[in-house]
Every structure is written in C-alpha cells, then in structure tokens.
C-alpha cells in the first residue's frame, strides 16, 4: 500500500475539530469585525470626513480595509496557538510525523484550513458590506481572493515563528511589534498619505497595506497606488517565502 502523502489529511484533522468549535469562531472571525465595521463606520464616521475629503462615506472607506484586516487577524490567530499547541501541548504534529506525512504536508494542510476559514469569514463580511451599500463596484467580489492572498502572505511567516518558539508568551511580542502596528498604520482606518514618510514606509513593507489597497480598489473602484501586479506579486512573495520558511522550521522542529 503506497499512497502519496498529501496535505489533505492534515486539513481534514482541523476540520473534524472545527465542526465542534465553529460556533465560537463565528463571533471572533465574523461578528466582531462586523460590529467593528458598524461601530467605527457609523459612530466615528459621524465625526471624521465631514468635508468629504475621502470622497466616500467613512463606513465605505474603512469596510474594505477591515475586510483585509479581519483576514489577517484570522490567519495570524490560526497560525499561532494551534501550531504551537500541535508541537508542544497535544503533540499532534509528532503523531502525524509517525505517518508518511512530511513537513510540507503539515504546513500545506494548515494553510488550506486557514484559507477556508478566511474565505468563509471574508465572504460573509462582503455580504454585510453589500447590504450596507458600501460596495460600489462589480469588481467587489475580488476582495475575497485578495483576502485569501493577504492571509496566505502572513500565515506562512507566522507558522514559521510558532514552530520556532517554546512558549506562547512569545506571541505577545509578535502582536506588539508586528500585528498591532500593521493594523493601525497600514491604511485600514485612514489614508497612509497623511502619515510622515517613515511611518508610510512601515505601511509599504507590511503585507496588510497591499491587501487593503487591493480590497479598496475592488469594492470602491479606486485606482491603485502601484500596478495591481506589483501588489499581488508582493503578497505572493510573502506567501511563498513564508511557506518555504515554515516548511523548513517544521522539518527542523520535528526531527531535532
């Protein structure tokens, strides 16, 4: 009996657990971003953008940004505790490593699961956005694949990070120095142009800004800062680099 090992059984493993816990994730990955969207968009929106500098209502402006940001949050969250836990706490990866599965199957399976989760919450979020009239372009649906690409861009590096640490205390560092600055300064809530040059560069190198740009172009029909291929290419580079890094960190952790 020789079956080629593949990422699918690793994905299946997550889905079997997910069937039990999905209700809890609806709140964190869908309802919370929606509450954020309405809270910020409507309440804060009443105070900012009074002269219409943004060209669109504030709700419409932040909606695509929050879509990309929510995708990032789900991807990062699922690349942290579940990955570290599978090495350290319930040793799921060690059990998998006793089967024909290889490091790339483990990383691939987790990535697949993350993309399914992000795809579901992004699609749901886009439906809410449409219901509130924030989607101005027929190209709006492309925000979902952009969310997936943004998720893939951060999931790989974060999985590699999780595979390299022993304790979840280290996640606080990642939040403090990467996730929170990215969320605040990557153009989700206000235009990057309004920041000093140094801060602007933080946005430019972060994958989130490229995701936000693409999402905003998709739902508002706005022109992009860079050619689409550059934004997509940059995210793809993160995704591929992150995948390769995660794969080598997984292999090292499992055989060390």
């Amino acid at each position: 009996m020789t079956t080629m090992p593949s990422p699918l059984p690793v994905f299946e493993h997550r889905m079997v657990s997910y069937r039990r816990i999905w209700r809890g994730t609806v709140f964190s990955s869908f309802l919370l971003p929606v509450l954020f969207l309405l809270g910020m968009g409507i309440s804060v929106g009443a105070y900012v953008n009074r002269a219409g500098e943004l060209g669109v209502p504030y709700l419409d402006y932040i909606a695509p940004g929050l879509l990309a940001s929510a995708a990032l949050q789900v991807a990062i969250g699922e690349s942290m505790w579940p990955v570290l836990g599978s090495f350290e706490w319930n040793r799921t990866y060690h059990a998998m490593k006793a089967s024909p599965l290889r490091a790339q199957d483990l990383v691939g399976g987790e990535l697949l699961y993350i993309l399914v989760r992000v795809g579901m919450s992004a699609a749901g979020f886009l439906v809410v956005m449409t219901a509130f009239g924030t989607v101005h372009s027929w190209w709006g649906f492309t925000a979902v694949p952009v969310a997936l690409l943004t998720a893939a861009a951060v999931a790989g590096p974060v999985m590699a990070y999780s595979a390299s640490i022993k304790s979840d205390n280290m996640f606080a560092l990642l939040y403090r120095f990467a996730v929170i600055p990215m969320t605040l300064f990557a153009g989700v809530f206000f235009p990057v142009d309004s920041m000093p040059l140094v801060a602007r560069w933080i946005a430019y190198v972060s994958p989130l800004w490229h995701g936000v740009e693409l999402c905003r172009a998709a739902t508002l029909g706005w022109p992009l800062t860079l050619p689409a291929v550059a934004h997509v290419g940059y995210l793809a580079l993160w995704a591929l680099g992150g995948y390769a890094l995660a794969r080598s960190r997984f292999a090292k952790r499992l055989t060390g």
């Binding site: 009996m1 020789t2 079956t3 080629m4 090992p5 593949s6 699918l8 059984p9 690793v10 299946e12 493993h13 079997v16 657990s17 039990r20 816990i21 319930n90 040793r91 799921t92 060690h94 059990a95 998998m96 490593k97 006793a98 089967s99 024909p100 599965l101 290889r102 499992l254 055989t255």
Partner: protein
C-alpha cells in the same frame, strides 16, 4: 541476512552536539519476534527508536528498516510502521474513534476502511464502550491502549513501542502487557524500549541491554540471566546499620556479593542455603528475602548500577 532483518543496524550512532546518545550499536530484528531495548533513562533507547521510526537521521553507521534507507525512504517506511510514542500524542478534542479514523487518513486509508478498523481495534484494546467519548477523561491506561490501537490502524509490519507502560499503575500495566502478548501471538513484530526488567522478561523473546549509548549484552531474558547471574539471589537488609561493615563478613557465601545503598545482594545457586550460612555466622539481618535472579541483576552485574534510579 539483510533481507530477513526488519531492522538492520551496524555501528549506528546518534549525536546531539557533543553528546553521543547512541554510540555505535549493532542490531538485527527478525520478523515475528518481540525485541527489546532494556536500559535506564538516558541509555540511548529513545534516540534509537526515533532513528528506527525515521524521524531522526543517524549521525553515522548503517541503518536499514524493512530493507529501506530511513533517510531517503522515510515516508515509505513509516507507512508500514506502527508507532506508540512515550509521550501521549492523542488529540484531546476528538473522540476515541475519531482519534483512530483521523490518524488512519494520514496513511491514506479510505474513510470506510478506517471506520471498520477503528471498531475492530477498539474491540481489541477493550475500549468499545468509550468509542464516542472524548479522550480527555480517559485514564492513563486507557489512553495508552488507545495509542496502541491507533498505531495498528495501518496494519503495520513492525510496531515500535517506546516505554509502553511507563507511568501506568500495576493493573493497567498488566492489561497493556496482555494485549501486547496477544499481538505477538498474531505474529506482529514488536520492538520495545523499557527500563522495567519485568516488562522485558514478560514480553521480549530477545533483547539488548543498553547503557550509556552502547549495547552491553544481548540474548533472550533466560540466556542473559544464566550468563550474567546466578539462579537465586538472597537480599539482606540490616536496618539502619552501615552496610560496609557486613560485606566483608559475608565473603564466601554464594558466588558474589553486591552492596546497594539500602541492601546487600548475595548471588547464589541456593538462596535458602545461603540464608542459613548467614545465620550461622551470627549476623542478624533485619530482613531476609530469597528470590529468583532477574534482568535487574544482569544489569547490575554488567554496569554496577540499578535500572530504576529513583
């Protein structure tokens, strides 16, 4: 020669930095036998098992598993192995059955077949009643039996058991041994590590005694006892007294005297006769016990240390 051996190792070495965990061992495990690695913690047993399980690459030497190269053919070999690790790796969020069926999928086993095998295996390890329960509340013995069942789902040719009963209470241990004995009767090749000499005696047809990364003896439990120990052992305790005072006075009784921190062991063919001789010398031990020699005595003789140091 090579074809018959499921495990074939020559000069096998595993180093971690400056530490040499496995220091040039030769091992051959044949189909259908129950083979043991006996030794204290840190003897290199688990490192050897990890190399055999194709998760850790040898630092030097030759290793062939099922005639294949573990570094090059890892996935192919692992598809034919069953591994029961020392540390629990069951998924606490899944049910007992799911732990087997999900694991079966890692081996590419179709879902329907996985469900059938899970039911059979749970029957075999006497967990059918817990099939739909979560894993978390199961006792240590039940979890170990479930791990064994899980390791059998791909119908492995070779089953690796790393310390299969460590941490279990005596009753749970006997249940695990009994199941493993049944597996052995079915002709499944078992390879186990243990630091319990009774476990090695119960289960192993043949074993190697490991100490500090090296193999110090090899044979069946009976052969090893015959070769390295006497038929019986007389265990003497002398209350709180310093044992050094007594060892000299016991010379000439039995073949060999061994002083442990808490007791003196007299190796002899006839324990009762030796006990009488001790009595004749007007020594007054606080306790006297005659027992058969065990692998513990073999290990003590070979290394000067006891197996379980705690």
């Amino acid at each position: 020669m090579l074809d018959e051996s499921l495990i074939h190792a020559r000069g096998l070495v595993k180093r971690f930095g400056d530490l040499t965990a496995v220091d040039g061992i030769d091992v051959d495990v044949r189909a259908g036998e129950a083979f043991g690695f006996l030794g204290p913690n840190g003897a290199g047993k688990s490192s050897t098992m990890r190399m055999v399980g194709c998760v850790s690459a040898p630092s030097a030497g030759t290793l062939r598993i099922l005639g294949l190269d573990p570094v090059r053919d890892g996935p192919q070999i692992r598809s034919r192995l069953g591994v029961c690790p020392q540390q629990d790796s069951l998924d606490p969020e899944l049910t007992v059955t799911e732990n087997i069926t999900v694991y079966a999928r890692y081996f590419g086993i179709p879902r329907r077949v996985a469900r059938e095998r899970a039911a059979e295996l749970l029957e075999f390890v006497q967990l059918t009643e817990r099939a739909n329960d979560k894993v978390e509340p199961l006792s240590g013995g039940m979890k170990r039996r479930l791990t064994i069942a899980r390791a059998l789902v791909n119908e492995p040719e070779l089953v690796l058991l790393d310390e299969p009963t460590t941490g279990l209470d005596p009753q749970a241990r006997h249940l695990v041994w009994e199941r493993l004995f049944r597996l052995k009767q079915r002709g499944v090749t078992l390879v186990l590590t243990t630091h319990y000499m009774d476990e090695a005696e119960q289960l192993c047809d043949r074993l190697v005694v490991m100490d500090r990364g090296k193999i110090v003896a090899e044979g069946s439990p009976r052969e090893l006892i015959e070769r390295y120990s006497t038929r019986e052992v007389l265990e003497l305790r002398f209350g709180e007294d310093a044992l050094d005072n007594y060892t000299g006075k016991l010379v000439g009784i039995g073949e060999r005297v061994e002083a442990l921190p808490d007791r003196i062991l007299l190796y002899t063919a006839d324990g009762d006769a030796a006990a009488a001789a001790v009595h004749d010398r007007r020594l007054a031990p606080s306790s006297v016990l005659v027992r058969r020699s065990s692998l513990e005595d073999v290990f003590l003789h070979l290394t000067g240390r006891t197996l379980v140091e705690d």
